[in-house]
Symmetry: C2
Subunit: 344 residues, 2 copies
DNA sequence: CTGTTAGCGCTTTCAA
DNA sequence: TTGAAAGCGCTAACAG
């Protein structure tokens, strides 16, 4: 204990180990240039006193801030727009005034440009947060950044197999399973046909949702069948058109799982066809909220963009300064929103 | 802007207003003893520079910490135990080493002792977080604390009408509505009878859940009827007994909404009677998790105790130091947990 | 390799 | 009513 009864400080550690503050700091922060014997002495003192670095004080003392680059698809999608906004806010709040954010909005969100953006950001930033794309070149760019000591956090959509520092987002396979449970129980037709609408099969997160959906439907509601999968390119107009075609081709389903964006296009196509199957969609935005309120949708499967942004920033900050994260706090929930628990 | 391009500091404000750092601090923190003219000058500078207090630095500089008292029912209930644990953790992390927590566990959680505990805590602590009870005497104790300048945050269960600084917890009426939607859609029997199990009708949160449940069932599933309400005193053994009696008296329902604790007692009573109606219960704990995993339960309506504890502590800290809170971050969600989105 | 010293942005004595 | 100065716990030069 430090003499005054409070938590032990680095000064206490230094005194106990008979070294200067600077040396204690070197050891605690694993900086080079300390004799092994000294390291041992300091580490012993740390252990004996139960010293824990005061992250706030450390952030304050550090003169030089960090540059973080955020790479996101075009902000037309309301969910992505919200994410961008929250990232800015989170840098201000969680970053202790030491994080400068640069936002890179990508026109076409494709592997090659994304990989380029990551490579570029790795030169200009100390940390990167990027919405991922499951692609080898993107993975390679991330690996290269990591090798340079630039941590990259993947957001919402992961790049599995890469050296990304961490993935912040939901388990999309599990989200698909939740959708299947909801469809199965809400539709109340043990033999119904269900339509799935995706942004694109090339998006890892959408594919994962589809897989989880198929698996859970097969296990728990084996009488129900997926009659078809439409791709709406995460865009309102395209989705409306894709759903119209799907209805023509496969007839009216008893339920629809919309795993991508462009949900209001889906709702409009249903209105056009004058049918109202059970509908489960994703994300709570200015686009989907009124649909749920008006009972044109049964449930929304949601991830909180504010939480995701804060989490990504906290994790990056921790990686950059070598502090610990509270995993429990960083777990992104798969939320189920009904009309009844719609937040105000 | 401060000359170096970073965010403006109090020093910048002081320079601009032609006063010392100390005076600028006095104005910004609304301390007494500054001439009105000076106040105006400083406030103008604050506005012009867009100054915002750096909370971390302020916490660091403050020598004297705060004492916070937490008042909770007996920790036998696993949800409450978790809450207590998380409160300790949150004080360490969010409290910037400046929050000393004292936990008061109450044997019988009744209005009179609770009011006494609040009155007592108001003498010994700078801030209070307490699980509330909707009672006039408790309200009066809270009002008295507030009058002394000791903010009290109500946790999980509110004391409406009192001067509590803030309520941290879910909207229980809405939670009851969610339960009704789930029961209505999962039971798939437009004419079924449903049993409600409560801890006690005297608990405000349970009563709110019941009200929300009744209202939503009436609106959306008007064929279904509540056949009875049992009280299990939030205890496993009592709940088992109460449910057994309820089944005897009212017969087997098609669904059960368990709004209180003691859920495994309910599950056991159902096993005893060899029936398996749709069951919706509350809170994810070591007690309820296995029930959901084993399909002895259909869904759990959950509030995250870790989030609630961190939120309560952040809000108390903000009140104590006069800083702002991010409302969005402090909103406690009504989570719906199915077997498929059960966190690891 | 190690220590000394000057801060980070703010609060808090103590004097004036 | 106001200001000067010390310091919270840590980092980052700069010497030695």
């Amino acid at each position: 204990m430090s003499e005054d009864g409070g938590a032990p400080t680095l000064r206490d550690v230094a005194r106990r180990a008979n070294v200067s503050l600077a040396t204690a700091d070197r050891v605690v922060n694993r900086r080079a240039g300390v004799r092994p014997v000294t390291i041992d002495r300091v580490e012993a003192a740390v252990r004996e006193l139960g010293f824990e670095r005061h992250a706030g004080a450390a952030a304050l003392a550090r003169r030089t801030g960090f540059r973080v680059a955020a790479i996101l698809p075009r902000l037309a999608n309301p969910f992505v727009a919200r994410l961008a906004e929250e990232l800015g806010e989170a840098c201000r709040i969680e970053g202790q005034r030491r994080l400068a954010l640069t936002l890179h909005e990508m026109e076409g969100f494709a592997p090659e440009p994304l990989a380029r953006a990551v490579r570029h950001a790795a030169e200009a930033a100390d940390g990167i947060v990027a919405m991922g794309l499951d692609d080898a070149e993107v993975g390679a760019a991330i690996d290269a950044a990591a090798l340079r000591g630039v941590p990259v956090v993947t957001l919402v959509s992961d790049v599995p197999g890469s050296a990304r520092h961490r993935y912040v987002g939901i388990d999309n396979r599990a989200a698909g399973r939740v959708a299947a449970s909801l469809v199965g129980r809400f539709a109340a037709r043990p033999d119904g046909r269900v339509l799935v609408v995706l942004g694109s099969r090339n998006l890892r997160d959408h594919r994962d949702r589809l897989e989880g959906f198929e698996a859970a439907l097969g296990e728990s509601f084996s009488g129900m069948r997926i009659c078809g999968v439409a791709e709406g390119r995460d865009d309102v107009a395209s989705t409306r058109e894709a759903v119209r075609e799907a209805l023509d081709r496969w007839g009216a389903p008893c339920a629809i799982y919309s795993a991508g964006a462009g949900t209001s296009g889906l709702a409009d196509a249903l209105a056009d066809a004058a049918i109202r199957p059970v509908v489960i969609a994703h994300e709570l935005t200015a686009e989907t909220r009124p649909l749920l309120e008006a009972d044109r949708l049964d449930a929304l499967i949601v991830q909180d963009p504010g939480h995701e942004a804060r989490s990504a920033v906290r994790i990056l900050m921790a990686a950059l300064t070598g502090t610990a994260v509270n995993d429990d706090q960083e777990r992104i929930r798969i939320e189920i929103i009904l009309k009844d628990n719609l937040p105000k």
